[in-house]
Symmetry: D2
Subunit: 375 residues, 4 copies
């Protein structure tokens, strides 16, 4: 199957360019009987939506989603769910600048080499706008996971440039435009972003996502391990350059005695594993951390080439997020939820008969640490 | 498709437990006409093979591979290639200890919860021995990529615990049992490993892999981006907890002006992108870095539970790698080669007609840095 | 991947219920650079559209398709193509009859058992209306195949109840509402259908589809043979109960001397193979024949049960095709085109390097026979 | 995924040429806990094995299968099951005749055009020998279906050339070398085959396969309908040219009143549907009928061309089945079982929660008719 589909049993296929008529997706394999209406999706879409604070792009999109199929009398029917968002902010604009130049560190150059030409309006298919549909589809997955199994998927901003969230207070995450779980860091973030805007520059970020109440048993070794499929989904988000599960890169300097999570009848001791052992969920929280690069759409000029291969200088004007990481929190949550639901269904398919004699042990009673690497 | 297959057009499907009759794989979709014999595979298998130095497990396996199909008169025929390694080191042994206990931080607990029971001999399917077949399949991919396109895939140990390779000398990589590209670090590594063995402990590592001479255009947005599929393949290797492309997690603290690789007619300036822009290869070197956890099979006792859920203490005896990262270099190379070839074929399938008017610009003339994050 | 997607490289994923807000599909993997606009799709949609003659259902649907993405400045960009048809004929209607009863020989009973409940309005997802999107996607495939390779995919009504087309005149196919290639059979068909309508009954049909100018080499043994994938696509059309390639079931009584198509430098002698040998196209015309059952939505009463399992009698009123086979011609063409394009891309992916020393020999100079089995 | 894999959740991937070192397959996704040993597979392999009667090829193959992985202490573990049959009858032989000529109506010509060259020894990958692995994998599926759900999959020879089985007596099927369910037809078949052998000719056949006790609900509309996936699997068997479900091509001449199976609380009335409505199993028997062409390997000379494109005459000597349909019965059973198990797992994955309020009604009490079309 081609590259615009993710998942094996619960699949999400998307289409849409930032300045075309609209965006859409097809969710296939959703279990029937789930209560669902557009408001369930809109909630997360609004969290991702641009223009909600002065720290994100001022491009305005209604991002109003319609459910086109697969829901009847308020419940999913088990057939394909079609979603549609029509683009409303298609203001006519002069793209001649962008049309013949490759913005440095963008997909312009690579799309041209792959396909011979590209839809250059607003980044076309490579625009971050594409992720709206991931968020909508993720909201469906989240709702099923939570209502059927009590699995909760939540994310937050762990670091933005030099500023780390020093504590994880879930209540705070949606109380500020940064998805920052540390109230005290918010003024610092505001000041930093203001200075960055002035400078015409951008900055990277780290987002952590956690799934709790996950049953043991999800993941399909040896290639479709749960962590492998999570890495695939996360690295496939625009601007992501790194993915960690559990201790992540910190394990390079850890000894076995430090890293291994011991097991006791009362629970795992620690969660360096990030909830995955041998590629299969252990029942501990699944903890994922991702790195997002600073956008290259900045007001400072940079060397580049045009479509004929000649040297140019490029300055990006217009409405861009100075930190794409900020709005990535709902996207990362969505991707994790999609992967988890896909694996729930795959696991049920093969192992519906399985009864494990051993009782599942409780998740780790670890102290949450919001900064640094995942979990 | 189920979890033991990787790839869409160039696919690798594996089977085999560490103490069963043997390991095997089926490579499907290999282009026809490639000169191939068992020796091509044996070379990389020998690099991965245990027992080759005193710093790896002393378990001895001939790891002798046979090509069972798909090659005729010395060339691949385009049909499925069957590979087989029969296990020779199946010494009878008392597994009663392991049978009823979950080794901490191993897949024992999760396999039991997924499947209801498990083949506990030597880790069964979750044994690192499974990766032999990845290496064999990767050797096929490597050979095609190199002979047809000049693409070279090479890896090395970038860090082991606190010790970093300070320089990247490709000549050195195969000249020491650590795949360390820095000759001067080798004595330090030897001393560190000796102390570790004495301690009965284990240590994590970082492996870097680089693909050079990759054409621009590989990768299938939005979900099967090249970096996403690389992350999937890498995170699916035993013990891997983190994956970076290019600057990786360093980008969290980078500004746009620092991170973006400018374009000039003479080449990219820098390679923070790690060779992938918008999920598509740019022609720069593809640089990947992975973190491998310290094995949990150590001689120091640790708390765990048995299959009835009762508290136990576990000490692992036997032949185990104190640093599984060491032998991971050929595995990581194999996985990268498999992903690249799969994407070459996918790209040819869709875009065989494409002529890009813009000439491909040279890869970055960056100074290689062996330590730290990828590339 | 779930059941609403077809294809591996050129994939089509559809959604939509007959009485919901609309129908849509996502075409993924379409080669870039193909000139395409909505009119290209509308032509085939209009051929399939209901209400165009008195021999098909009088349900009226504008079936106006919009291209939502993947086309820029009149050419496909290589990214996902979103298509949308909004339903316009959603007249409010009393469905209470159908809601609690299973129409005999319909999908009502099976959808309920699979999903627990169903969207019963107009058949919901199992409505023939779903095939509109196949036709739209097939039009894209047809256009690429024809413009890039000269491959032409055409179908016709070979038999309707007892009436067979006695000759194959391609010019006639679109000149009558039956897609009948035999002008002389048309009055007979008209009379037969009029009598059938009076009777309140329905009738089966046979449709033949032919692809010409297909290059040798398409098909992926051993499971995704070209004929196997064609059978999958054809049997997946509503109401199809049988699929033949070439001689089809006639081969049961053929001897080897009769069946085998001899090869001469001037061409194949005959085409009993239907253009596929060993699962791979031979360069002969690909000839496919399918059987479509008579619709069960007839005005004659029939025994059935209600959703509580009690005996009922059912009479279907409303706008139904008395011969669903009539409108199946463009659908069958679409499915064949989709399969062929998918296999063209798969073949290019693996075998881009292949040069066959033997020149392709001409397709069979057989006399076309329109009736009976395919080819 | 490439063409040597079938299935989505229960997948079978095969390799092997008729005259290479061996054949093998990997079964992935098999539910754990199934009691399994090699004898379970050997039973069906022996039914398919050549050389068991004078009406099939005298080529002798031990066809002894080894289970290489995925089974521990007599039960499947849920991990990949590797199967291996080493070829034993590799007598050295002069293939120069075949090497440079295309046998008419064989895959020789098409393999060459696809891959540039081919393994010509005994047909290589296109040999019927390849089907041994399907039979082995099918035996696993059959055992699970029967032991877990009581689903039984059985086939028989319905017609051979002009001779039809006039009655269906399951007891007789394995009592004669033709898998003929009609004892009285056996002497006739023997006489016919003897004459055919003398003539140096071959003949086509029709095989019927029936699955009984199938639960309603299997199948994934709109493309992976159960009947569509069955058609894919069946048409992918060597020499198959046609597939019917239920009434099959007979429905072309049926009216709605004849074709539709009415529903009563006591059961379906008739089974024209062949157990599938709207692409989903109904609980009726699933009845499939396939047409197999006469082999083209006959002793009568035929025109062909050589690899340079020059006219030649070809006479096939050696050990060939004069009716490949005879040995196809266990193969067709295997393919149906594989498809059914795959769909059981897919259905469980998505619809594990579903409770249908309507009780399943009994399968049709139809009179079995062995000849003619399926069911």
């Amino acid at each position: 199957m081609s590259g615009n589909t993710i998942g094996k049993l619960f699949t999400v296929t998307t289409f849409g360019e930032s300045h075309g008529p609209g965006l859409g997706c097809i969710i296939d394999g959703c279990p029937p009987g789930l209560e669902l209406d557009a408001a369930d999706l809109q909630r997360d879409l609004d969290r991702r939506k641009p223009g909600t604070s002065r720290f994100t792009t001022q491009r305005r999109e209604a991002d109003e989603v319609r459910i086109m199929s697969g829901v009847f009398e308020g419940r999913t029917t088990g057939t394909a769910i079609g979603l549609l968002i029509e683009n409303t902010d298609q203001r006519s604009k002069d793209y001649s600048n962008i049309a013949n130049t490759f913005r440095p560190a963008h997909a312009d150059y690579t799309y041209n080499h792959k396909y011979g030409f590209r839809d250059y309006r607003g980044g076309g298919r490579s625009s971050a706008r594409e992720t709206a549909m991931r968020v909508a589809a993720g909201a469906v997955a989240k709702k099923y996971l939570l209502s059927r199994y009590g699995i909760e998927v939540r994310g937050y901003l762990a670091q933005l440039g030099p500023i780390r969230a020093a504590r994880l207070d879930w209540e705070q995450v949606d109380a500020n435009p940064f998805f920052c779980p540390d109230k005290d860091a918010v003024p610092e973030l505001e000041a930093y972003m203001a200075a960055l805007n002035k400078e015409g520059n951008s900055i990277g970020a780290r987002i952590n996502v956690v799934a709790s109440n996950v049953m043991p048993g999800l993941g399909e070794p040896v290639f479709d391990r749960l962590d492998a499929d999570i890495a695939h989904a996360m690295m496939g988000i625009n601007a992501v350059k790194g993915v960690e599960i559990g201790a992540g890169f910190a394990c390079v300097e850890q000894k076995g005695t430090e890293h291994r999570d011991l097991l006791t009848p009362e629970g795992f001791v620690g969660n360096a594993a990030g909830g995955v052992l041998g590629g299969i969920s252990s029942g501990q929280d699944i903890t994922v951390s991702i790195a997002l690069k600073p956008t290259s759409s900045i007001r400072q000029p940079g060397a580049t080439i045009d479509t004929e291969g000649r040297a140019m200088e490029m300055v990006t004007h217009g409405r861009h997020d100075p930190c794409v990481g900020i709005r990535a929190t709902p996207i990362a949550e969505a991707m994790l939820a999609i992967v988890l639901l896909d694996h729930v269904l795959r696991h049920r398919g093969q192992n519906a008969d399985v009864q494990c004699a051993t009782p599942a042990i409780p998740a780790a009673r670890r102290e949450d640490d919001a900064g640094g690497s995942a979990g």
